[in-house]
């Protein structure tokens, strides 16, 4: 068979071009915009083996005249159709010709003409794509239309007709094959070329008057390098297969010149009496194709492919094991005592997170020793910059951590029951009914292939055990409850037909469908317009009041905290650095990080005494692998001193029931220090007195 004139998708990356949801597909495409990576090539065993094989076969075929034991037409009538012997390592064919010699004599031509297909196909495809991306929509429309027609041609039949016209002139045929295949390559490359053309630095170059040709060559082409190499490798493989296929049906190089396809054809005539003959040529052809594919696939792999939200069965088994380990782990006495306490007090709808740690399966910890409580009917805010572990903490409450990430220690006590040690089956009983989730991007949180009505009624029927029509009515009620006026119409729409704010209301309705008692809201307003944000927040506030459910609200917006949260836990680098009730923390922050966040928030400062410059926090949240053993904020803290290099426990902050993780908290409070907008000279940093350390030791004892 002559394979389809379109390379197989190497990865999700390329398959993305035909997926229904254009937006996520585009983001996947962007992930593919990586520079040619030697690393990826060399870390894939298959690709390394492929490179070695290709190098070997190219060298062998180029040097063939020097070492081949026989001439291609030498006939050894004493050994016709022989298997491997000392004289003929790979045996002989029906005329007693040495198969090894013929394979390598044919190799140079096969590889060379396949390369011709690659050069013509990939070259033409790339040029067309860069032209279409660089010169505006008219050109693109024309080129795309033409390639569309080219792609809807019966490639094999056309190639045969070409052979009819030009004869078995293999280089010409392979070049024309390249032209036919360029349409598919154009389609693959166009998306990337367009994405590169729309980069800001390309815009800047255009403004600077750089010529379109120069832009294409200097800014676009380098970004396409990886894709081009991937396509080249895959087309090379397809080219070889097609060429061998043509030779097999008798359109190979003129006889007696050897070709791989022709040799397999010859062998097929003797499959009855000398089946061995099929093996050597077939194996060499398959290995060469395999090598090119392996190289293409290794390079084409999307570098940071997102983890699936539903882990594979294998990953789920692994997680079940980890959960079982946690369940079996002995609970320390202190913890047991605390559990006992919380268990007694466990009124319905209480969440108590104790020393929770979340880590990547390779050992990197993302969240360490996080504890907080959420009483029924209250709202807890988890605040902090991106990368502080807020979302991981929130997702762990539902057992919905992404693939490859799991709870590595601690407890999540829901009504006294440890969810961290619950099986997937148990969690299915909790999710939706007890604990529900709303996420950051409402558009992506809803299934684009099903109507709002289907998604809502399915959830209601499942979670509340209602019949179809009853669920339908309930769905409409829920939509009205979340403030949607024309609920009847919205039920019939698909997610892409409604606005972001509307979608978030639908997502909230979906979360409410099981009448949960705890709502985990992961930055529910971040992706929305400011006015819509306020509406959604007041909706959530009203829902808390009406239903008596509690909320864990993940946010980086202190305005949201002030607006809706009763309690706050400020997180930094996987730890809670300060917690307490909202008023106390906003009015009287104790941890330098909280101080800094407030100083950096334009809304937290009064209009009257708005500082000339808002404060900033130097640097970035450290990567989990770079967390120091001491205070994790020390490197960015204006008040850091030598004592900050030791591990810091959570201490009573003195303000209400709050806790703070800073050895200098008391000192800062006493001296009334503010986070300053400018860099602080070292001279202003406080010396750490021994007294403070002693103080901490005492409190630590109290806690234990």
């Amino acid at each position: 068979m002559i394979p389809t004139v379109a390379p197989a998708p190497a990865d999700a990356d390329q398959a993305g071009s035909t997926t229904p949801a254009a937006a996520p597909a585009r983001s996947a495409g962007k992930a593919g915009l990586t520079k040619f990576s030697r690393h990826r090539l060399l870390t894939s065993p298959g690709a390394v083996a492929g490179l070695v094989w290709l190098a070997a076969i190219v060298t062998a075929s180029l040097t063939a005249p020097l070492w081949l034991p026989f001439k291609t037409e030498d006939q050894d009538f004493t050994a016709v159709l022989s298997g491997p012997t000392a004289a003929h390592w790979l045996g002989t064919d029906e005329l007693g010709r040495d198969i090894l010699s013929r394979i390598f004599a044919a190799a140079a031509g096969t590889l060379g003409t396949s390369m011709l297909t690659v050069i013509v196909g990939v070259g033409l495809g790339t040029i067309l794509a860069m032209l279409a991306a660089g010169t505006g929509e008219r050109t693109e429309a024309v080129i795309s239309r033409v390639t569309e027609i080219m792609m809807s041609l019966p490639g094999t039949v056309i190639i045969l007709a070409v052979i009819g016209a030009v004869g078995t002139n293999i280089p010409v045929v392979m070049a024309i094959l390249g032209i036919l295949m360029s349409a598919g390559i154009y389609r693959v490359i166009l998306g990337q070329a367009k994405s590169l053309q729309s980069q800001l630095y390309v815009d800047a170059a255009k403004v600077d008057g750089v010529s379109p040709l120069r832009i294409s060559l200097r800014h676009v082409l380098p970004g396409l390098a990886n894709t081009i190499v991937v396509q080249a490798a895959l087309i090379f493989a397809v080219g070889m297969l097609i060429q061998a296929g043509l030779a097999f049906i008798g359109f190979g190089p003129p006889i007696p010149q050897p070709s791989w396809g022709g040799m397999i054809q010859g062998a097929s005539q003797h499959v009855y009496d000398a089946p061995w003959m099929m093996v050597p040529t077939g194996a060499v052809l398959a290995l060469t194709v395999l090598s090119a594919n392996a190289i293409g696939n290794a390079l084409g792999k999307a570098p940071n492919a997102a983890a699936p939200h539903l882990p594979s069965a294998a990953a789920r088994r692994q997680r079940a094991k980890a959960v079982a380990a946690i369940a079996a782990a002995p609970v320390s006495e202190a913890q047991a005592a605390r559990n006992g306490a919380s268990h007694d007090a466990a009124s319905e709808g209480t969440l108590s997170v104790r020393s929770l740690s979340v880590g990547v399966d390779n050992g990197v910890r993302l969240v360490t020793d996080v504890s907080f409580d959420v009483e029924q009917g209250t709202v807890l805010g988890l605040v902090g910059e991106s990368g502080c572990g807020k979302t991981m903490t929130a997702l762990s409450l539902l057992g919905l951590l992404p693939s490859g990430v799991s709870v590595s220690g601690g407890q999540i006590l829901w009504n006294g029951r440890n969810l961290a040690a619950a099986t997937e089956k148990d969690m299915e009983g909790i999710r939706g009914r007890d604990i529900a989730l709303i996420s950051q991007e409402p558009m992506r949180a809803l299934d684009p292939m099903f109507t709002v009505g289907y998604q809502l009624t399915a959830a209601i029927r499942r979670l509340r055990g209602m019949g179809k029509s009853e669920a339908r009515t309930e769905a409409r009620n829920l939509l009205e409850k979340v403030g949607i006026v024309d609920a009847q119409r919205i039920l019939k729409t698909y997610p892409h037909q409604i606005s972001g704010g509307m979608a978030q209301r639908v997502a909230i309705a979906l979360a409410l469908s099981g009448q949960p008692r705890l709502l985990v809201a992961d930055e529910p307003t971040t992706a929305l317009d400011v006015t819509v944000q306020a509406e959604i927040l007041s909706l959530l506030r009203a829902l808390v009041k009406d239903t008596g459910m509690s909320v864990v609200m993940v946010t980086h917006d202190l305005g949201v905290v002030a607006d809706i949260c009763d309690q706050v836990a400020v997180m930094y680098a996987g730890q809670v650095v300060e917690n307490g009730n909202t008023a106390a923390i906003l009015d009287n922050p104790r941890h330098p990080y909280t101080l800094a966040l407030l100083a950096a928030d334009p809304h937290a400062n009064d209009a009257d005494n708005m500082p000339e410059r808002l404060a900033t926090i130097q640097g970035q949240v450290p990567q989990p692998k770079d967390w120091p053993t001491g205070c994790r904020f020390a490197a960015r803290c204006q008040f850091a001193g030598s004592a900050c290099t030791d591990p810091v426990p959570l201490l009573a902050s003195g303000a209400g029931e709050g806790l703070v993780r800073c050895v200098k908290a008391d000192q800062l409070a006493v001296e009334g220090m503010d986070w300053l907008a400018t860099d602080v000279p070292a001279a202003r940093l406080l010396p750490v007195s021994p007294a403070t350390s002693q103080h901490t030791a005492v409190i630590e004892k109290d806690l234990a």
Binding site: T18, P20, A28, S268, A313, R462
Partner: protein
């Protein structure tokens, strides 16, 4: 919708016309005049000229093309230069062979490919790697090689299936199925591997979508997430992959038909190219294009039906 279909039909018609013109020009570039081909070696120049004159070979290209087109739209693709049979009738008898071959191989590829691809994506771990390696190998194996091995194993070693030949359905449905078995399996090896890759990639991409998390958060059972929601999301690229396979297999049947001695379109094109039978080549190219264009049209309709975003617009 009606407008959409009309537009697409016009596009399809234009494509077929372009290809017809292309094919016409190509076969005109074939070596030898119709007279020379038809009369064979040793014919006198006068006789050759006489045949050429009769077939209109000396008319302007323009006239020749429209003469051909005029009869083609009436279903007459001319007569073979070699044996004078009607090309339309010949191709009509061959079309069912290739169609059953390509359709059978596509169905088998889809079943195998979706099964393997979904399993690899859903089960993960070692099984995923094993399937991945297996599929990678199958993609690299040339179909003609696989076919010969199948003949060796199933027809030579054990005569489960007939090695060659084709029995029309009307003659004996059972023999028809048996005669199709080996060629269909041969073609489905590579096709199935291709669809398996496409399916695995699409399923994984579907499972990376955030709405999967929402489904889990509302306690949707795993089987429903996988086989209703994720598979539904992945269905578009998978269907596109299957359509592409059908197109590929339709062309790929050239090799299967040669290997298993089946009187299909592929065999026709191979023979007529070898014998420089220009009108026959032209006829096959046009018929194959019509089939491919029709499949693409169906694919587009299927896509429009499957994707709510396109359906609404």
């Amino acid at each position: 919708m009606a407008l959409f279909i009309t537009k697409r039909l016009l596009m399809a018609l234009a494509t077929v016309l372009v290809v017809a013109l292309l094919a016409f020009l190509l076969v005109h570039a074939m070596p030898g005049s119709p007279g020379a081909v038809s009369l064979g070696a040793g014919a006198s120049q006068d006789a050759i000229d006489e045949v050429n004159q009769r077939l209109g070979w000396n008319d302007p290209l323009f006239t020749q093309f429209f003469t051909w087109l005029g009869s083609a739209v009436q279903g007459d693709l001319g007569i073979s230069l070699i044996d004078g049979r009607s090309i339309s009738a010949d191709l009509a008898s061959r079309l069912p062979v290739t169609a059953s071959l390509a359709a059978g191989a596509t169905v088998l590829s889809a079943v195998l490919g979706i099964g393997l691809g979904v399993t690899a994506a859903v089960r993960g771990g070692l099984l995923d790697q094993v399937i991945g390696g297996f599929v990678g190998l199958l993609v690299a194996l040339p179909a003609f090689w696989v076919g010969v091995i199948f003949v060796y194993v199933f027809a030579v070693q054990s005569s489960v299936f007939p090695a060659t030949g084709y029995v029309p359905f009307e003659v004996s449905p059972q023999d028809w199925a048996l005669s199709l078995a080996l060629p269909v399996i041969t073609l489905a090896v590579g096709g199935g591997a291709f669809i398996a890759r496409q399916t695995r990639a699409s399923m994984l991409e579907a499972l990376q979508q955030e709405h999967i998390r929402t489904l889990r958060a509302t306690a949707t059972p795993t089987w429903k997430i996988l086989y209703v929601h994720a598979l539904r999301y992945a269905s578009l690229p998978i269907v596109a992959g299957i359509a592409l396979q059908f197109i590929g297999l339709f062309g790929g049947s050239v090799i299967a038909e040669q290997l298993f001695a089946m009187p299909g379109l592929g065999q026709a094109v191979q023979t007529s190219v070898s014998t420089h039978d220009a009108p026959a080549v032209q006829g096959v190219v046009v018929i194959a294009t019509v089939v491919v264009v029709a499949v693409n049209l169906l694919l587009e309709l299927a896509t429009k039906f499957l994707d709510p975003k396109l359906r609404a617009s």
